[in-house]
């Protein structure tokens, strides 16, 4: 006798009601609301800067009307083009040095075994903790003795020195996450350590390079103190010094100052926006390991 086995019939069940997600949705709205508030707090000064820069001096004082006067007269008050160029030169050269030193140093600390490497690394990284103001005077004395306080070079050296410890730290952290085997495979394939750094590691280190570039760019571009002290040739002064001069004038035009400040802020904002996606990756690296 054969017995037909039939699968047990499932009793009809009512459609399950979707789980209640109310608390999560409320939390999301609260978070969204908080973010809007933060955005307003952050963006309001920019709004004020833009509106103020679009007024003439009299319109600013009276409160009504708009005019391009402060923008059109800005170049006659300060050499804004030259100052932006100076800031660009100082920024680019400093960042180039920071990357050129930080990349191989980070690679060496992360991937090579050598005596006292941990101690040397800690000494370099501890330099990050020293505030600029604390070493400003000795730095000034040193750079003056080297007769480098006139043009760009003194400021570039100071900025590069100040930024290198951070870049070494960031690149070391990043390269520690790169598998040793990747570099060893390159070495067995025929590369030296520099070859492995240049041809294998560099292409995958874009987030770290972008992070160092953006953070250092913002820091150097916005800095006033070093530019003020170390670049004494007026024809080579950066934009921040130019704006400070404008603000310190006998009669300060607030709309002109706002127009200059916007020009000054724009490059840093563009760099940040351009590299934003790498920046998050670069700053959070190491957290998930």
């Amino acid at each position: 006798m054969t017995t037909l086995l039939t699968p047990p019939t499932e009793s009809p069940t009512p459609n399950p009601t979707p789980p209640v997600k109310k608390p999560r949705r409320v939390g999301r709205w609260v978070l969204f609301g908080a973010m809007i508030v933060v955005a307003i707090v952050m963006l309001y000064p920019f709004w004020v800067m833009i509106i103020t820069s679009l007024k003439s001096e009299s319109q600013f004082l009276s409160g009504g009307g708009f005019s391009w006067l402060s923008w059109s007269s800005l170049t006659s008050v300060i050499p804004i083009g030259q100052e932006v160029l100076s800031s660009t030169i100082v920024c680019s050269a400093s960042i180039l040095i920071i990357l050129c030193v930080g990349l191989p140093a980070g690679f060496a600390f992360a991937k090579l075994r050598f005596r006292m490497s941990t101690v040397v690394f800690l000494v370099i990284v501890s330099a990050m903790m020293v505030p600029l103001q604390a070493i400003l005077m000795p730095e000034f004395v040193n750079v003056t003795r080297l007769h480098l306080t006139g043009g760009y070079l003194g400021a570039i050296i100071v900025y590069a020195s100040l930024g290198t410890p951070f870049s070494v730290f960031l690149f070391t952290t990043y390269f520690r996450g790169v598998p040793d085997e990747l570099i060893e495979a390159g070495i067995v394939d025929g590369l030296g350590y520099f070859g492995a750094l240049w041809r294998l590691v560099l292409p995958i280190a874009v987030p770290a390079i972008a992070t160092v570039t953006v953070l250092q760019f913002i820091q150097i571009w916005d800095d006033l103190l070093v530019g003020l002290l170390f670049i004494q040739n007026t024809s080579e002064r950066p934009i921040t010094v130019g704006l400070a001069v404008l603000a310190a004038g006998r009669t300060t035009s607030i709309p002109q100052l706002m127009a200059g400040s916007l020009i000054s802020a724009l490059p840093a904002m563009l760099v940040y926006l351009g590299f934003q996606r790498y920046l998050v990756k670069g700053l959070t690296m190491g957290i998930d390991r």
Partner: protein, 387 residues
């Protein structure tokens, strides 16, 4: 193609960690040598020294008759396959495979030709334009092999290349690697902790433990004639049963004392083995699971056991048997005195998939007298005199 020789090679990390201790090994041209052993036995360190990725503390390594102790990795003309494949993520499969040739300044046409040939061997032709992240584990593994093949090196070095694959793919790739190695005839040193890989792939297998080479032989010789109890216990799945037992005089010969039971040692072992004196410290007695025969009823040369554990593997059942005394009152009579916590010594036996045995059943087993192994109780060395 070349032969490889390790001559008294030692690697010391720090002041006193001897990762590899006086390793002497010869790999002939075209030979597939497997280094096998548990974690920390020094097999990977030995391979890395051969590749030039670790310095040698003492001894020498030669490839093709030339000592390479101070030769840079790139000049050793060896290709290495890593456990995690180490593919260059920013390059396509073709670029990965041709990278070493490009570095060496070969023309684009030549690189493309060699990459194409290797891709055909590895069945990778349709994936040449993909990046590693768009490949499966098995495909990545094949690309890593391809990167090694295109160089036509003097030797292949492989560091646990199948460890990251699932069981089924591992079996496939095992055959694939062995096929390619035989096709190319290049001396290969293959590191693994998996003794099944070692047994199935290697022309010869070198078993390592604690930095020292224990034995280097063909897989069958290792299995049949282990030089010590470590090799006996490491090679084979399930491994050899090893029991620490005393010897007693019996008529003209000796018997093994298994609790209240006695197992006669055939007289031939007195000549083929250097058995210790009776009433001495005893020996370590070894028997492979397949040489433990389960009997239907009682027989003169059988011993009484009880099933402690049963593992159904589908094609066979492994039973873990403890020895009980002849009366059958379940008293466990043999304890492993070497263990930190005393535990009953068990024998593992293989049974047919449909033998309806269960835990607690009593079984009569016969230990195949042709395949007894004896090891020194202290040193663990085989007591076998001749081979």
């Amino acid at each position: 193609m070349a032969e490889i020789t390790f001559d008294g090679v030692t690697k010391v990390f720090g002041d006193d960690v001897r990762a590899v201790d006086e390793l002497s090994l010869h790999v002939a041209e075209g030979e597939f040598m497997v280094l096998v052993g548990p974690s920390g036995c020094g097999k990977t360190t030995a391979l890395r020294m051969l590749a030039g990725l670790e310095d040698i503390t003492s001894g020498s390594i030669s490839i093709g008759g030339h000592v390479v102790n101070n030769v840079l990795p790139k000049d050793r003309d060896v290709a290495m396959v890593f456990q995690n494949y180490a593919l260059y993520p920013q390059m396509t499969v073709a670029q990965n495979m041709g990278f070493a040739l490009k570095i060496r300044g070969q023309s684009k046409a030549e690189v493309a030709k060699k990459v194409g040939e290797a891709a055909a061997i590895l069945r990778l032709t349709e994936y040449l334009d993909r990046r590693p992240k768009a490949l499966s584990g098995g495909q990545r593994q094949r690309v890593a092999m391809g990167r090694a093949i295109v160089r036509s090196p003097q030797a292949f070095l492989m560091d646990e290349p199948l460890s990251n694959l699932d069981a089924q793919l591992r079996v496939e790739m095992r055959l694939e690697i062995a096929r390619i190695q035989r096709l190319l005839g290049v001396a290969t040193v293959y590191v693994t902790h998996d003794q099944i890989e070692a047994m199935t792939m290697g022309d010869r297998v070198a078993v390592m433990r604690g930095g020292k080479l224990q034995q280097c032989d063909t897989p069958q010789d290792l299995y049949d004639h282990p030089k010590n109890d470590f090799v006996a216990g490491f090679m084979g799945s399930p491994p050899m049963n090893l029991l620490r037992v005393a010897l007693e005089a019996h008529d003209d010969g000796v018997v093994l004392v298994l609790g209240s039971q006695r197992l006669v040692v055939p007289p031939s072992y007195a000549t083929s083995h250097e058995l210790p004196k009776v009433d001495g410290p005893g020996v370590v007695f070894g028997i492979r699971p397949e040489d433990v025969e389960v009997l239907d009823g009682s027989a003169p040369e059988s011993i009484t056991t009880r099933i402690e554990r049963r593992e159904a593997l589908g094609a066979e059942i492994l039973v873990h048997l403890s020895m009980v005394d002849a009366v059958g009152n379940d008293a466990i009579v043999v304890n492993d005195s070497g263990a930190v916590v005393a535990r009953p010594t068990t024998l593992v036996a293989k049974m047919g998939p449909r033998s309806g045995v269960s835990v607690g059943d009593h079984l009569q087993v016969r230990l195949n007298p042709d395949h007894f192994h004896f090891f020194d109780a202290d040193s663990g060395l085989s007591l076998r005199r001749v081979r």
